[in-house]
């Protein structure tokens, strides 16, 4: 009986081929728009995450709890050699870079502002981060203990400084004495989020350890990259076991929870977005089904007259509505998948909003990603919404009086 209901419902849909085609195409386009937007947004999000991990977060961080809680510059990593030996011994760690960090005032000829000074090992830094690659003017640090300084383009603009300008950094060393040092701007980096560019500048770790009056082989934190990011938690667990108990290891999601949550938030937002699209589409289908019932009153009345019971009539209307909705589903998913696959290769230029995207460290060309994990969710959403929206037309049909319906011309 189900098969016959299905067959009859399918034929009923095509009684008005144009009307049904318009509804099915509208549904397919809605689904396509939803899938494409999800793929584009995920592409943007992935680019933002990759950029953040490559530019300033890394995959993980080793530090002491005291430093993380208080930012106490004296709370550098103890047993540094032991820690770095563990990192070297792990075949799941591809690179690591030590950092000393302190807050500082930076002063150019005309302006001053607060910044975070990163003391980095020029060679190792380039293995973990793209800081060196991002230098657009001059060069990255070359001297492990010189007076070179690399600042972000945004900070350079803010301070009105150019390459080879001199600037002064002022901060407290670990004994409480004020240190003021003159540095040369040897490099300007760009293409990272404006917030990071304005906040972080780089000097050599040797220079900073001396200025902070810290031992020569000391670091507040070590950032590292792993060979397989998907296995980060397992890698961290192994590293933790091999290191002194005093250090703590954090993955990138803990270092930057906002970034870590972005994927989840985006997924939720996208589901809401596509639900809204599908809701709008469902109203179109509801309208079509109500029209169909109005037009077929006489026939529905006749069906009840000759003995079609209410549950069968209900099933017929619900099936018609479901078929009308679901017919557009494969087309919509196929369109979405193909368009995402194509644009994932070519990218989509967002040059018109380049500046806004740069604020978040995202390149102006977005590479959408295919999102097969959403297809089943979308199919389920279409099914559930269609079923819900079929109830009203089905109820209208059940309320028909056979005698009155058959009088309709």
């Amino acid at each position: 009986m189900m098969r016959n209901t299905l067959s009859m419902a399918w034929r009923n849909i095509w009684r008005s081929p144009w009307r049904s085609s318009v509804v099915i195409i509208a549904m397919a386009l809605g689904i396509w728009a939803g899938i494409f937007t999800i793929g584009l947004t995920q592409g943007m999000n992935t680019a933002r995450t990759d950029s953040a991990l490559n530019d300033y977060i890394g995959h993980g961080r080793i530090s002491t709890e005291t430093y993380m809680v208080n930012g106490d510059i004296a709370a550098y990593i103890p047993q540094y050699q032991e820690v770095t030996a563990s990192l070297e011994a792990s075949d799941q760690v591809s690179a690591w870079a030590p950092r000393l960090i302190t807050s500082s005032m930076i002063q150019s000829g005309s302006k001053s502002t607060a910044v975070m000074v990163m003391g980095v090992d020029p060679e190792r830094e380039g293995l973990v981060f793209s800081s060196a690659v991002n230098v657009v003017e001059g060069h990255f640090l070359t001297d492990p203990s010189g007076d070179e300084l690399v600042i972000g383009q945004s900070l350079a603009d803010k301070l009105d400084v150019m390459l080879d300008d001199r600037i002064v950094l002022t901060f407290q060393d670990q004994t409480g004495n004020i240190y003021a040092g003159l540095f040369w701007v040897t490099g300007i980096y760009d293409g990272v989020s404006n917030m990071v560019e304005e906040a972080n500048l780089y000097v050599s770790i040797g220079t900073l350890s001396e200025a902070l009056a810290l031992p020569s082989s000391s670091a507040h934190e070590i950032r590292y990259r792993v060979t397989d990011l998907a296995e980060l938690d397992a890698t961290q667990a192994k590293l933790t076991a091999s290191m002194p108990a005093v250090v703590q290891l954090d993955g990138w999601k803990r270092i930057n929870p906002e970034l870590g949550m972005a994927d989840d938030i985006m997924a939720q937002a996208m589901l809401i977005f596509i639900t809204i699209i599908l809701l709008a589409m469902s109203f179109g289908i509801l309208n079509t089904m109500l029209m169909a019932i109005l037009e077929r009153q006489r026939e529905l009345g006749m069906l009840m007259a000759i003995g079609m019971n209410k549950s069968r009539l209900f099933a017929l209307i619900v099936t018609e509505t479901l078929l009308l909705s679901l017919a557009g589903l494969p087309l919509g998913i196929a369109l979405g998948h193909v368009s995402l696959t194509l644009t994932a290769k070519t990218g989509i230029s967002m040059a018109s909003v380049e500046q806004g995207m740069a604020e978040y460290g995202i390149a102006s060309t977005i590479y959408p990603v295919t999102v097969p994990e959403y297809y089943l969710t979308i199919a389920a959403l279409v099914f559930v919404l269609s079923f819900l929206f079929s109830l009203y037309p089905a109820r209208k049909a059940l309320k028909l009086n056979p005698v009155e319906s058959m009088r309709v011309l």
Binding site: R298, E299, M304, I306, G307, M308, N309, K310, V403, M406
Partner: protein, 227 residues
């Protein structure tokens, strides 16, 4: 026992213009195997009476028995089942299902009854053959003439093995040739298989073939003639 027994059936329609008595205290009995026409001018209550007998409309008063069943007290659900298994309907406008072929239209009612596919297809073909339209079994209603559609409607009405067939103005939309053919078929089914037919009609050609003619006026039976 009569096949159809109406006792003092009253049906009043209420409207803004006032109450209209469509069936006015009608008592009738129809025996199995009859070929009966209910006649009268438009608005005399023929269709209302047929609808009440067919369980499509409920009388305001009185009772209707079909065989051993009093249909006036049945629930809507029970009435649907009763109609499905006991009454065949032929409508003035044929009312075939447009998306189904002649064969599927005929078999449809058996599907509702839960008859197995092979059995219902065989019976549908036999019935189409009986009404002389087996050559059009795979045609949809829009590919059939009015007369052919009405013959399919008769086949459909017979498909459920009903106790009787109600035909509301079955020839009203047919030309005289088609009317003749349809009446021949119905008369043959009546004569050969004892199928009871109850028509409402204005059509003199139908009245001429009927063996009993019940005339209504203003909802009342004013004559009941066995020919």
């Amino acid at each position: 026992m009569s096949l159809i027994q109406l006792n003092d059936v009253l049906k009043i329609y209420t409207s803004k213009a006032g109450d209209v008595t469509a069936v006015d205290h009608v008592s009738l009995s129809i025996e199995a195997g009859e070929f009966t026409a209910i006649v009268g001018p438009s608005g005399c209550g023929k269709t209302t009476l047929l609808n009440a007998i067919g369980g499509l409309d409920r009388p305001d008063k009185g009772s209707i028995r079909i065989g051993n069943s009093d249909i006036t007290g049945m629930s809507d659900k029970a009435l649907i089942d009763f109609r499905l298994n006991n009454i065949g309907f032929v409508f003035q406008a044929y009312n075939l299902i447009p998306v189904l072929t002649a064969m599927e239209n005929t078999a449809f009612i058996m599907e509702l009854q839960g008859v197995k596919k092979t059995e219902r297809l065989q019976r549908a073909m036999d019935l189409l053959s009986a009404v002389g339209i087996d050559g059009k079994a795979n045609n949809r209603p829009n590919q059939l003439s009015g007369g052919q559609q009405q013959r399919v409607a008769v086949a459909r009405a017979l498909a459920s093995h009903p106790q009787f067939i109600l035909a509301d103005e079955p020839t009203a939309n047919l030309d005289s040739s088609s009317t003749g053919q349809l009446l021949d078929i119905m008369a043959k089914l009546n004569a050969d298989e004892g199928m009871t037919f109850l028509f409402s009609t204005h059509d003199q050609r139908v009245i001429d073939r009927a063996r009993r003619v019940i005339t209504l006026e203003d909802g009342k039976v004013i004559s009941d003639v066995h020919v």
